[in-house]
Symmetry: C2
DNA sequence: TAACAGAGGTTAAACGTTTTACTTCATTCA
DNA sequence: TGAATGAAGTAAAACGTTTAACCTCTGTTA
């Protein structure tokens, strides 16, 4: 049986209150009693019951982290920094991967409202952002929520931190345009979510600045896997033989795209230049080394947690942060 | 303010007990009252307080997951399947990355003893397994613990699930030996932990079967990163120019090794054959495609969770499971 | 008709803390 | 001396559930 404060108190011959004060340092206790109590605590390896603590204090020192997909190198990156930050701040982390399942996401959010967590860092599932609305109970509740990476307007009054997708799309396209490309294909996985939309908007804006008209056919959707993009790139290039450059919106898809191009015997970058998205470990030693938009998931995660802490302490808090990205130039774009 | 059962009960004019029975379906309630209660519940978006539930029921339906490093593709893989399994079984997951920090690991374990979780899936930090012992309070406590991937004899009476490291080391070495290699280097990151030890033991056993004597100098330790193994392979090959094949014990290090070999202008597989460890997305399209020992993190994670469930329901439960690995042959081993 | 069973509800204790408001006693100060 | 102050400790309520035990009807059975 677990030993409780009551048992400790009885054994020492003191009140539960006193034990509590010793454990928490909330009141001065004579060193005589203090030592007696501490001895018994150590003897029994007493550790306080968190359910009871939480119930009484109405706080759990736990944050919920809800991600839409896993493992994914980017998500993985920010989970890591969130977990580090949580640790530093004395918080625990309740981890939930919704696997893009809208119903499970809603169910989970509801569950977390049960005083299970003090706040939530949420990256909505794709369908959610695209077309669903959150139930009112979530919205008018006072549970602090911070959005990360993906936006949903239901939470327009919550803090939001994201990689700067518009800038990323813009930078990649500008770089290719500067080097003479005019027919730039774009391979993406998930439509409807803000990252995809904003990246495409950045790409469009760049085209516009160069007076190149936007061609809907140059956008190719594929499954968010190596295999998916291998198929996608073939389909895209068969339909549009004039394409000379590609911008691929994820790391796994970048790998698949290279694989597809190799199978088609397309030389990178001579026949098709390539810019990928998200740095992955093998990018520098691929054949050819891959130029890509490098993200900062670490900064993203850390910022998310700090925003959450602010939101918890100050319910009116509301801020949007854009984390900049950087183009890392290697051989695959031919520049 | 949060609405509680008490408020619901008052509003309907019924006892708290009745509300509880409606919420949990623990007793037959007349449909008249049932409907009234449900209506008010929905009106207020009532959701039960989990701290109170947990306190009363002495269970949290939450499992702790303590990993030694993150992100790491293998760890990431099993986290994913653990989280999926937890979801299926109605459990929550408290995620902790110790970052190989022994003190934090101990502190965390202690914390989780506070009725925060119903059980723990643990992969000990390296130093822990190498030289530290767990405090008694953890060992004689009744909190169910399952070890995953890394072993620690303190938990010899807990279930344990691991990839079959001995077999992996053996298979890789046998494969290279069969193809005529006699001077096989091995690059690893963390000594002292069971995976490394067992892989090396498997490698030794294979050498023995082929009557090749084991050479201590062929083992090279490096930092568990791309950069670390790039340095390691250079150092190893400079000291031992006769080496014709390499076995590398992690995916990141495989990437770094290839990078190092390229910088040294060593042709793979003609001058140095290579077998890596752990499948990574770009392995098939590297130059050359990489032969490796493919692990099954999914099976590992799922098994871990199932073992934990068994352990929770039956404290005497104790089982060790070895998940087999497979050699995936591609170009880099020259076979 | 008496005894019983079952349906539908309620009361109150219990889970293990924290914390407010009290008590008691010794000391200090004027 | 008497009042005020402070130090050390305690009693009891509160947090929001679950659940064993009990109660009160109504209808059934012998």
């Amino acid at each position: 049986m677990k030993v409780t404060m009551k048992k400790i108190a009885e054994e020492v011959g003191v009140s539960v209150t006193t034990v509590s004060h010793v454990v928490n340092g909330t009141k001065k206790i004579s060193s005589e009693k203090y030592n007696q109590i501490m001895e018994i605590i150590r003897k029994h390896n007493y550790v306080p019951n968190y359910s009871a603590k939480n119930l009484r204090s109405q706080s759990t020192k736990t944050a919920g982290l809800i991600v839409p997909s896993f493992p994914d190198s980017y998500v993985t990156g920010y989970i890591n920094s969130i977990s580090r930050r949580a640790k530093e701040m004395g918080y625990n982390l309740l981890f939930i991967n919704t696997d893009e399942d809208v119903d499970y996401e809603q169910e989970t959010l509801k569950l977390l409202h049960s005083n299970m967590v003090d706040g939530i860092i949420l990256s909505p599932s794709a369908k959610m952002e695209e077309s669903e609305s959150y139930s009112e109970e979530l919205l008018d509740s006072s549970l602090p929520i911070v959005l990360i990476s993906r936006y949903h307007e239901a939470f327009q009054h919550s803090p939001f931190v994201t990689q700067d997708d518009f800038q990323a799309g813009y930078d990649a396209a500008i770089h290719l345009l500067q080097h003479g490309h005019r027919d730039i294909g774009l391979i993406y996985a998930v439509s409807g979510i803000s990252p995809t939309k904003n990246r495409i908007n950045g790409y469009k804006k760049a085209l516009e600045e160069y007076g190149v008209s936007f061609n809907e056919n140059y956008l190719e959707k594929g499954h968010a896997t190596v295999e998916g993009s291998r198929k996608a790139v073939k389909s895209l290039l068969e339909k549009n033989k004039e394409i000379t450059a590609l911008f691929v919106l994820s790391d796994l898809m970048t790998i698949g795209t290279i694989s597809g191009l190799k199978e088609m015997n397309k030389k990178i970058p001579d026949e098709v230049a390539l810019i990928g998205f998200g740095d992955f470990p093998s990018a520098p030693i691929m054949d050819p080394p891959v130029t890509n938009i490098s993200l900062s998931p670490d900064t993203l995660g850390q910022t998310a947690f700090d925003l959450l802490l602010n939101k918890i302490n100050n319910p009116g808090y509301d801020k949007t942060v854009h984390i900049p990205n950087f183009l890392i130039t290697r051989k695959s774009c031919g520049c």
